[in-house]
Amino acid sequence: MSDRTYPDESVGTFPSPPAAFTGGEDREIRLRESGRGDVDALVEMYEGFDPADRAQGIPPIDPEAIRDWLETIVTEDSVSVVAAHEDRLVGHAILVPDRQDGYELAIFILAEYQGAGIGTELLSHLLGAGQAVGVDRVWLTVERWNDAAIALYRKIGFETASSESFELEMSIRL
């Protein structure tokens, strides 16, 4: 993995979780930080994830593979925020450290909760939670055809870092 590029300028301050807001159809959505104790609920969420929304092999499909994947990424070194509606997790966003002091970001929202502004809130609060523990460089990859996701990342402040491979790489400085 080569050296990544990040914008020179920091984008400012993001809000920290916990938070609550109305995410379309009068659904009360709550955001909070999550950890190892949430793995069971996260496995359940990812079992209901639309396979068409998978990206580069994640989330895995098999429940055991989902659990192994979550146990690898939800650690003390990562920053993880969930979106809950009533008793159920409906969204998850996470920052996982790379080996160069940066963090890779991913966000997943159940299909029936997409298009309700949850992604914007979840991403902002994830970056806020990251800032609170000193995260200052974040990157992600996204499929080139995923216009909705790319527009969301741009709105938050991500810039294109590299467009030389299959996926578009974007980055942000906090």
Binding site: A55, W69, I73, D98, E104
Partner: protein, 121 residues
Amino acid sequence: MKVLLGTGGRADGFDALDRTLERTREAGDDLTVAVLETSSDEDVAAVAEGVRERVADSGVDAEVHVLEGHPGSQLVELAETGGFDRIVLGGGQRSPLGKIDLGEVAEFVLLNADVSVTLVR
């Protein structure tokens, strides 16, 4: 079937090599291994030596070549000029989050090869 495996020195390359050797033995394929210059920090000759040892240990009779220069185009050219039926490559590294990241070589070969390409997962 005449199979051309392209490998760098990275972990996924050796994994692909081991799986391809196993498959070659089962299918009775005719295998050639091309060691590619995928990174300037790797000693291609040392990688090739490691590959030859692994091939010898497996009991499979396969030629091992070092391809110098641009790895993707050299591999595609060898596949065409050598009359190969298939190119085999490692199926990508995983990012910290577990995303599959296809490297430059895999992308070049997938887009430019006129034979079928197998990515080993």
